[in-house]
């Protein structure tokens, strides 16, 4: 369990760095698109618009995965917790099960979705759309793993 936690910690760190790099690339790409329009000797690249959209898809899905690990997805605490600790445990487990169902839907259906994209080629850059679509099941997998970790921790905590 501890080892697993450690591995997930490293994974999280990697994801955070990778995601920041993607946003940086996005910024460079759109900046170049503007600058190349006004500086005559810079070649215009037609695929900047397309690739920047694809990068955004990745930034969002990875960010959503990271958000699960960091617990930053918006939750409204409109109902107060109960005094019964068993009730609260059941409640938390129920909510976690729902969340897990959600991420597993993205993992399984997202995998099917991405598999179809394998044969699709992007309009401008002519890359396989799998490169974009694979971000969906990756989010699903990350979310599932991170929710399982949260679930394990919650069970370990029990009614304490």
């Amino acid at each position: 369990m501890k080892l697993l936690s450690k591995i997930l910690g490293i994974l999280h760190k990697f994801l955070v760095t990778f995601q920041a790099v993607l946003l940086g690339a996005l910024l460079l790409m759109v900046s170049y698109q503007i600058i190349s329009r006004w500086v005559p000797f810079l070649p215009r690249i037609l695929w900047t618009e397309e690739i920047s959209r694809f990068l955004l898809v990745w930034v969002i899905f990875l960010g959503a995965g990271i958000g699960i690990k960091e617990g930053t997805h918006f939750v409204l605490d409109l109902l107060a917790y109960s005094k019964s600790k068993i009730f609260n445990l059941v409640w938390d487990l129920f909510v976690l099960a729902l969340n897990l169902g959600f991420t597993m839907m993205f993992l399984i259906r997202g995998y099917k979705y991405a598999a179809v994209l394998l044969w699709d080629v992007s309009d401008i850059a002519q890359i396989s759309m799998l490169w974009v679509g694979i971000s969906i099941p990756i989010f699903g997998a990350l979310g599932t793993v991170f929710y399982l970790e949260i679930l394990a921790k919650r069970i370990a905590k029990g009614v304490k």
Binding site: T72, V75, L76, L98, G101
Partner: protein
């Protein structure tokens, strides 16, 4: 299945899930599942597809960039300079920090296109400061959240960009149209602060001398130039409104590196923070798009339109209905998918009633901006509450009090379209 029944099931489930403490983004997605399972012709494929496709949009790119620009301003001291300028300008009014909070949001709104970044950036500095000076916690959070809504009303604005893009309405005119309503809302909030300050005897700052004011103004100038760069760039066709958001980032970077308040290490840090925020906040757009798509599949919007047309209202009545629809929709879903679905449904109704497109758009944007602070899904409220370490529901009473005069402004804007149309007619008549 009947549209009304579908709508009740989906909204009901969504609310139930949110109350259970399922994350909002997840709730929107899960609320679709039962209806999908009972609809022959639709499968879970739709949820995946709508989320993925909604992210794959050039218009959405303005969101990370405006957030990044705003975060850079927050981290490189531009925001602090704006707060100093606000202090020198309105700090001596009763309830000084409250006025500063509102006024700096106005300044910040002129520089940034996002309300959430405003709530986060200004909230981080002013919420602790106000608490320290003895302001009541709920009021502090409420005024921070509500003043942040000016971010999308005063130009530049992410919402106007997406509105103009999806409905072929001039973004430049929309930007101009937002200035006066934004200022009016700011003034109404300052009036509210004044009343609070008198009632609870909140502290004031000494009046700044002219010299101090000039100094504060000059220091804040680099930040204040940024909206000029954006507006001039868009007006002269150097870049598109979406690209303007990237320019805002480059400009903030430039200021940061010249002032030496920004290092590469810090920049990478900000980049990462922004990327994570973008992930969490835009992820909601995806599931909300799936949610609204499913409503559209079951022809809920048409049912709504038929209902509205059945009432035989005049133009003013229609604008009121439009405002109410956006106010209600804004309670539950993010403004961007709300625009994409409801905007294009309501636009023909507005056109048929002879309502000016800019008037219609601005009423829509302002009404949706209210949604940023109304529960259950109000991003600014959530962010400010998180910074102020308070449960959302405890803040609601004060939010309601501040919203009342703002609602008055909204009604005024509905009744007197000229307030909205004055500036665009004056400055950009060719687009009207």
């Amino acid at each position: 299945m009947e549209p009304v029944f579908i709508a009740l099931v989906m909204f009901g489930l969504f609310l139930a899930l949110v109350f259970l403490r399922v994350p909002v983004a997840v709730s929107l997605g899960l609320a679709c599942v039962p209806v999908i399972l009972f609809t022959d012709h639709v499968s879970l494929f739709a949820i995946i597809d709508r989320s993925y496709t909604s992210y794959n949009s050039f218009l959405l790119l303005s969101v990370p960039f405006f957030l990044l620009a705003a975060n850079l301003m927050n981290e490189t001291g531009i925001t602090e300079k704006l707060i100093k300028l606000a202090t020198a300008t309105v700090g001596h009014f009763p309830g000084g920090l409250g006025h500063i909070n509102v006024f700096v949001s106005m300044l910040f709104a002129g520089v940034s296109g996002s309300s959430t970044a405003d709530a986060a950036g200004i909230g981080k500095i002013l919420i602790p400061a106000m608490l320290k000076q003895g302001y009541e916690r709920n009021f502090t959070i409420a005024i921070t959240a509500t003043s942040a809504v000016m971010g999308v009303i005063i130009p530049p604005s992410i919402l106007m960009l997406i509105w103009g893009g999806t409905m072929s309405i001039s973004v430049g005119s929309l930007f101009l149209a937002g200035i006066i309503p934004g200022i009016l809302i700011g003034l109404s909030q300052m009036a509210t602060v004044y009343v609070y300050a008198k009632k609870y005897k909140y502290p004031i700052y000494e009046r700044a001398g002219f010299k101090q004011f000039v100094k504060a103004f000059l220091e804040a100038a680099p930040g204040l130039i940024s909206p000029l760069v954006i507006l001039v760039g868009i007006t002269f066709g150097i870049f598109t409104p979406t690209e303007a958001s990237a320019i805002a980032v480059l400009y903030s970077l430039l200021v940061g590196f010249i002032n030496k308040t920004l290092t590469w290490k810090k920049f990478l840090h900000i980049l990462s923070d922004t990327a994570r925020l973008v992930g969490v906040s835009l992820f909601c757009v995806g599931t909300a798009s799936a949610f609204s798509w499913l409503l559209a599949y079951h022809q809920v919007p048409q049912a709504l339109v038929a209902m509205i047309n059945g009432w035989n209202l005049g133009p003013t009545g229609i604008v009121f209905v439009i405002a109410i629809v956006f106010l209600i929709v804004g309670l539950f879903i993010d403004a961007i998918p709300a625009i994409i679905i409801m905007g294009s449904i309501l636009y023909p109704i507005a056109q048929a009633a002879g309502i000016h497109p800019i008037h219609f758009s601005l009423i829509g944007v302002v009404s949706l901006a209210f949604g940023l602070v109304t529960p259950p899904y109000g991003m600014c409220l959530l962010i400010a509450s998180r910074i102020g370490e308070q449960s959302v529901h405890k803040v609601l009473k004060d939010v309601g009090i501040i919203l009342l005069p703002m609602l008055g402004i909204l009604i005024l804007l509905i009744l007197v379209p000229d307030i909205v149309l004055f500036l665009p007619r004056l400055i950009a008549p060719q687009f009207m």
